[in-house]
């Protein structure tokens, strides 16, 4: 069982380019999340999805979009990358969006926007 996989592991991107970070989970979890981790700020929620077909905005959604066409996949797209989006991105999932469910995290994608 892989749990949560993310791709790519790392990426250097020119400003203005479009980029999609991939996230796949094999736990049949209903809820999925995208966070960015920045030094001194901890993890901040970008977008979330409580079930396939629905998405919602987190704390820092600007410049990012997501889709949830099926249970397993939750890609994060940067339509036009900017240097402030340089960060480590973590995908997470939980059995449901209930506050009683533990979130499981993927290995992360380190993105550098130049």
């Amino acid at each position: 069982i892989a749990g949560i996989t993310q791709a790519p592991t790392s990426q250097i991107l020119a400003a203005g380019r479009r980029m999609t970070l991939r996230c796949t989970q094999d736990m049949r979890h209903n809820a999925m999340y995208w966070y960015r981790q920045d030094l001194g700020l901890g993890l901040r929620l970008i977008h979330y999805s409580n079930t396939a077909g629905t998405t919602g905005k987190g704390e820092v959604p600007d410049g990012y979009s997501v889709s949830r066409a099926n249970t397993d996949d939750f890609p994060l797209t940067l339509a036009s990358a900017v240097p402030s989006q340089t960060s480590v991105y973590f995908c997470a999932s939980s059995a449901s969006g209930s506050s009683y469910n533990e979130q499981f995290f993927g290995p992360g994608t380190r993105l550098t926007v130049l």
Partner: protein, 116 residues
């Protein structure tokens, strides 16, 4: 807005020393509380969690945390740290307010360095 504050940003200890990492949150309602650990180069893993009941919760690897509702705190402790405990530690909170959708609010993180 809800927030989580971790007071210690960088802690350096020698092996066998005792550890206490502070965590305070700002939310007056019912909360669930978590501590996650991120070892170098790895993803976040759950150390322990508090939902209800005994405010002293025990987690993996000898860690424990105490929920003190009156102080809005959930400090992490370990009596004797090991070199392998070197990692970054995150406190996180989920509130039970209306519209809650399982959104974890994280603290800034504390980097623990244990010297052998």
């Amino acid at each position: 807005a809800q927030s989580v504050s971790q007071h210690n940003h960088h802690v350096i200890l020698s092996e066998a020393a005792s550890l206490e990492l502070g965590c305070n949150y700002s939310y007056g309602g019912t909360v669930n509380l978590f501590w996650y650990v991120q070892y170098p180069g790895q993803h976040l893993q759950l150390l322990l969690k508090y939902f209800s009941g005994d405010p002293l919760v025990k987690g993996i690897k000898g860690f424990e945390a105490e929920f003190i509702k009156s102080k809005f705190s959930f400090n992490l402790r370990k009596p004797s740290v090991q070199w392998s405990d070197t990692a970054e530690y995150f406190c996180a909170v989920i509130s039970h307010g209306s519209g809650n959708t399982g959104k974890l609010i994280f603290g800034q993180g504390t980097t623990l360095q244990v010297k052998p």
